[in-house]
Structures are given as C-alpha cells and as structure tokens.
C-alpha cells in the first residue's frame, strides 16, 4: 500500500514537472535563438505577460484557443520588432532596453487587464489529449503522454531548435553573427537582418510561453502572472550553454524543484511556504554561479554591431 502511494506521488510530481516546464521551454528556447545571434533580450518576462493577457482576453471573449495562441504570437512579434529596432538598429545597451520592455509589458498588461477584464476569471483552456497506445503504457504513459497540446509543442520545439541551430545554413548564420559579426558581414551575411529574425523568433516563442501559462497551465490571468519566470528563462539559457538540450535539462531542474515545492505545500511539510517559494530563485543564482566559464558564450553577446568598428 505504501509503495503504491509513493509511486503515485512520484508520478504526480513528474507529470506536474513536465507541465510546469512548458513556459520555461518556449521562452528559453526562444531566448537561445536571440542570444546565439548576439542579442540578450531581457524583456522576455514583459513579452510573456502581455501575450498571456492577449491570449487570455481572446480566449475569454471568443472561446477560440487557437486564435488566442495566434494573438499571443502576434503580440510577441510586435514586441520583438520593438526590441530589435532599439537593440539592433539603435544599438542601445541591451540590459537597459530589455528592462524597459519588461516594465512596459508589466504595466501595459496590468492596465489592459484592469480596463477590459477587471476581476480574475477563469476559462476552459487546452484540455489534456491522451496519445493512443503510448498513453496506455503503464507507469510512464500517463506521465509523458497525457498533456495538453501546448505542452507537447514545447517538447517538439527542443529537437527542432537543435536541428535548426546545428544542422542548417540559417543556424550557421545565426551563430556566425553571434560569434564574429564583422567576419559574417564580410562574407555577405546581413548581420542586422539575422539578428532581427532571431530576436523576433525568440519573442514569438516568448509570446507562446505566456499563452501557455494563461490558456493551458493556470487558465486565468492576473497582475504579474509570470512572477519572474521570464527572467529565470533567460538564466536557463546561460545554464544550458546556448544548447536546446541543455536548456531542456535546466527547465526540468527548475520545474521539478517547483513541483516538489508545490507538493510539499499540499501535504503540509513543516517548512514555511515563503522559504519554499525562494528555492527557484536561489537555484537560479546557484546555477548561474556554477555554469559561468563552463561553456563559451557567443563572443559578440550583448555587443551591438557597427560596420567598420571592430
């Protein structure tokens, strides 16, 4: 009897780990593209917030979840264009412009939420879809193959991102403008265009990360819904060494800490919930400490490119 309970608990923790990893995966894989091209987009959290609001608003008013995802992607694209215009074309200090984008997204989503929705409401979000056959495998079936579509999408994204970055010409171009923009420029690669593309792709994925929160995980929107998950996603990119598989490992690490913490609160383990909530943030700092210098970061990370200056 005792074994059955602990197996059930373990299954529950792993299932929720996979669910909770979803927004981290979208946002961090997107940020991997941006950073590989040499641009740190610290506004991920702001993009997630505004897109989460947009997706929720559309889902609440139309009931069409796919339209909600599309809205989130469009908001992400617009904010990505804004970020790349300021960081690539105007060559702003990326740390500052990213914080500006975050503040804009935080304030704007709160303003729109208060004016157009007002109170916390819930929607019928994406429902779990059990994959035939695979979902019937005892033990791992329900853990891995009984999730909503955005969750599957996040996990499909990892091999796709790896393939694009490692095996295609486009990926090579993205890497080259992040490593040595002057050399890439001399070979006829349009540095600014590649960076625009990477930042915008990252922003669209950040938009989907926000939508996955508000339409698939919690099915609601409130002020500061993300609670800094976008920043943790940026840290995960460092942690994962700019490699989608590494990023996935980091996302698992964070979401398992989160799901264990949630489970401890549920069963009432005697540690204050505030201490438990601190864990992911402490873990982020620790992760940044141990991963620095382990992997070489893109050489031109955080450096605007100007022709004739190198």
């Amino acid at each position: 009897m005792k074994d059955v309970i602990s197996l059930g608990v373990l299954g529950g923790i792993l299932t929720s780990m996979i669910r909770l990893a979803t927004p981290f995966l979208y946002a961090a894989i997107g940020e991997t593209f941006a950073q590989t091209s040499g641009v740190v987009n610290l506004g991920v959290d702001g993009i997630m917030l505004l897109s989460a609001y947009g997706a929720f608003y559309v889902a609440l008013n139309t009931g069409n979840l796919w339209l909600a995802l599309l809205t989130a992607a469009a908001i992400g694209l617009l904010m990505g264009l804004l970020m790349s215009f300021i960081s690539v074309t105007l060559k702003a200090e990326q740390g500052i412009s990213g914080i500006g984008l975050y503040m804009f997204g935080l304030g704007m989503s709160s303003l729109l939420f208060k004016i157009t929705i007002g109170t916390v409401k819930t929607i019928d979000g994406f429902q779990p879809v059990r994959i035939p056959l695979l979902g019937d495998i005892p033990g791992i079936g329900p853990i891995l193959f009984d999730h909503s579509l955005p969750v599957y999408g996040a996990f499909l994204l990892v091999p796709i991102a790896w393939w694009v970055l490692d095996k295609t010409t486009l990926g090579l171009k993205i890497k080259s403008v992040g490593q040595n923009p002057a050399a890439a420029d001399s070979l006829g690669i349009n540095v600014d265009r590649i960076r625009y593309f990477s930042v915008c792709l990252g922003a669209v994925l950040a938009g989907l990360a926000g939508a996955s929160l508000s339409t698939a995980l919690v099915d609601l929107f409130q002020d500061n819904l993300t609670a800094g998950q976008g920043f943790i996603a940026v840290a995960l990119v460092y942690f994962g060494g700019w490699n989608p598989w590494g990023v996935m490992g980091g996302a698992f690490l964070f979401s398992i800490v989160n799901s264990i913490q949630l489970w401890m609160q549920v069963i009432g383990v005697k540690i204050p919930s505030d201490v438990a909530v601190m864990l992911p943030y402490l873990l982020t700092i620790a992760a940044l400490m141990i991963t620095v210098n382990r992997v070489r970061q893109p050489a031109a990370l955080n450096k605007p490119f100007e022709r004739g200056e190198s």
Binding site: M103, G107, D274, V275
Partner: protein
C-alpha cells in the same frame, strides 16, 4: 576605434567644462523621451476609450495642484533620488543594478527591527543608527551580486532580479512571523505589518500636516556628496575609470573586481537607506508594499538624469510627481495607475534608444577629445 578610445579615456575623466550642447544632450533629449512616452500613453487611452486630456489633467493637478500634492510628490521623489544615486554609482562602474527593490526591502526590514529592539535609545542616537543599519542591510544585499559579478562574472541583472524575489519572500516570512504587529495578533486581525515604531525614531516633518519629512533634505545633501565622491575623490575616479574602460584600468593597476563589487555594494546601501527612510519617515511601521516599485522607477530617474547625481534631483522630482499624479488620476477618472508603469517602460526604451544619437552627436562635436557621454 576601440583602441583609440582606450587611449583617450583617462583624459576625459576630468570634469567637463560647461557646454550648452550638454544641456541639449542630457536634458532636452531625455525630456523628449518622456513627452513621447506620454503621447503614446494618450494614444493608448484613446484606444481604451478613456479621455487622455482629463486623465493627464487629473495627473498634473494631483501632482502640483495643492500643497499636499506637491509635498507628496517630494515624499515620493526622496526614495527615487536615493535609489537613483546608487544606480548612478553602479552604472558609472558599468554595473547595472536592477536589485533596488530587494535592497529597499532589506533596508526597510533592518530599519524596522532595529528601533523596535533598541526602543529605549534617545532619538538623536536612534535615528542615525537606524539609518546606518538600513544602509548596511541594503549594502549586504548589493554586495552579493556585486561579488558574484566581480569574481565569477555572474550576470548582475539576472542575479539582482533573483535577489529581489528572495527579499520579497523574506519580508513576507518576517511580516507573518517575528516582525508581525503583536497588537494585530492580540486582536486576531493578523495583518501583515509590523508594530508601530517608537516615536523618537520618526523623522521630523518639514511642513506641518503633510508627510514631507527631513529625509528629503538628507537625500539632496547625499546627492551633492555623491557628486563630489564620483568626481573629486580617487575612489570615485577609479569607479568611473573601471566603467569607461576596464582593460585600460586593469593595465594601470586598478583592482577592477574590487571596484565593481564596491559600486554594487554602495548602490545597495543607498537603496537600503531609501527603504529605511520610507519606514521611519513616512509609514512609521513596515507595510508589505514598502517598495512601491521605487527600485524600478529609480532606474528610470537615473537614466533620465543622465546618470549624474545632480541631474537626478530634478529627474526624481519629475517622477515623484508622475507617481503621485497617477494615483490621483486613478481616483479621479478611473484610469488605472498601471498606465504610468507602461509609460515608464517606454521612457526607458526611448532613452536607451536615443543613446546612439547622443553618442554620435557628442563624437562629432568633440572630435573624440572629451567623450564624457558614455552611458
């Protein structure tokens, strides 16, 4: 280009001679950014079917339309100025401090605990020591990301944001535990706030019947002191040298990691002081929303003040007024005050985006001899 800059940099650390182009660069360009952001805010209001003119009129009226409005604006400008001073110092060493929120919280926690514990001390002793304790607590919270940046190259933006979240949870924990108001526990209300601080630690009020307290004067004095510190002392010179060109500084024997960590520690200290002054000057007890977003708004003020301690004084008064006005706008015309948060974000985007123009302009005017405009 980079090498030429390196050779020129130490020369440009002299205090620049007064130049009218500086006024345009450091004053009018940022102000244009604020106006553009307010204009976009007006467009957003029209789209949301709210009346922008009524909203902004309520905002201006709330900020400067009455004695209470003006003094409240100055009360809000005080923590912005203090936080901004710290951000200036860190920025000058090329370290970005996003951790103001957490550092304010630590300062506020310390400044709550200390007078409650040593409640028999007389005011002349208790006030300064409480301020120092607040400064030290914030400084510790700034030192951690500072040393991580200096020794391990940990990205200080990410680490300070994480420190903010940790500080927030720490405050939640303490306000629901050891620091919770005993009278609230006795009455069964269990409000998440501390007990009221002893009367002798309250900062004196400058204008009767208002919230304006002596902390505002202290903040202005400190702004002048920070100006002298950065431009007239060896340590200040080295902090700026590290920020302008870490490689050249290293070759000339400056301990770069030390000054990076020092600048972040000082930044944390000033934010901690802001938290302490909020507690003993305004609320007289610790409330959950003690930071009011000052850690982020302070960044905007610092950018708008061109990262100059004296430029910060008008910038923080401007944003203090905007914050007070936004609260008034929410009451008068029911436009949520989060509008101002979105506008602040746009200001940051515009000011950071316009740095390229001001850099190029400065380079053209000065032909690279006095490139003080590096931000």
């Amino acid at each position: 280009m980079q090498i030429k800059k390196a050779a020129n940099k130490p020369l440009s650390l002299r205090r620049p001679a007064f130049d009218w182009s500086n006024v345009v660069l450091h004053f009018l360009l940022p102000l244009a950014g604020v106006l553009a952001a307010l204009l976009i805010g007006a467009v957003m209001l029209i789209i949301l079917k709210a009346d922008p003119i009524a909203a902004y009129a309520a905002m201006v009226n709330g900020a400067v339309g009455s004695v209470s409005g003006i003094t409240q604006s100055l009360v809000k400008a005080t923590p912005l100025l203090l936080v901004g001073l710290g951000i200036c110092i860190a920025f000058r060493a090329n370290v970005i401090n996003i951790g103001g929120e957490g550092q304010i919280i630590l300062g506020a926690l310390a400044a709550t605990w200390f007078p409650l514990t040593f409640n028999t001390w007389p005011g002349w002793l208790l006030i300064p020591s409480t301020l120092i304790v607040g400064f030290v607590a914030g400084a510790i919270w700034g030192f951690v990301p500072g040393i991580l940046k200096a020794r391990l190259q940990v990205n200080e933006i990410l680490s300070t944001i994480m420190m903010n979240s940790i500080a927030q949870q720490l405050m939640n924990l303490l306000l629901r535990g050891p620091l919770m108001d005993p009278s609230g526990i006795a009455a069964g209300t269990y409000l998440a706030q501390s007990a009221r601080l002893p009367v002798q630690v309250w900062l004196p009020r400058l204008v009767p019947q208002t919230l304006l307290h002596a902390g505002a004067i202290l903040a202005v004095v400190l702004a002048v002191l920070v100006y002298f510190f950065l431009w007239r002392t060896t340590i200040g010179y080295r902090i700026r040298a590290v920020g302008l060109n870490p490689d050249a500084s290293r070759y000339s024997g400056i301990n770069v990691p030390f000054y990076q960590a020092l600048s972040m520690t000082l930044a944390g200290g000033f934010a901690g002081l802001a938290g302490a002054i909020e507690v003993i000057g305004v609320q007289h007890r610790l409330l959950e929303g003690v930071t009011s977003g000052y850690g982020f708004t302070g960044i905007v003020a610092a950018l708008l003040g061109s990262l100059h301690p004296l430029g910060l004084i008008p910038a923080s008064i401007l944003f203090g007024g905007l914050l007070v006005g936004a609260a008034q706008m929410q009451r008068a015309v029911q436009v949520p005050s989060s509008l101002i948060d979105a506008i602040l974000g746009l200001v940051v985007l515009f000011v950071s985006g316009s740095a390229l123009w001001s850099r190029r302009w400065a380079a053209r005017r000065n032909m690279g001899t006095e490139e003080e405009e590096k931000s």
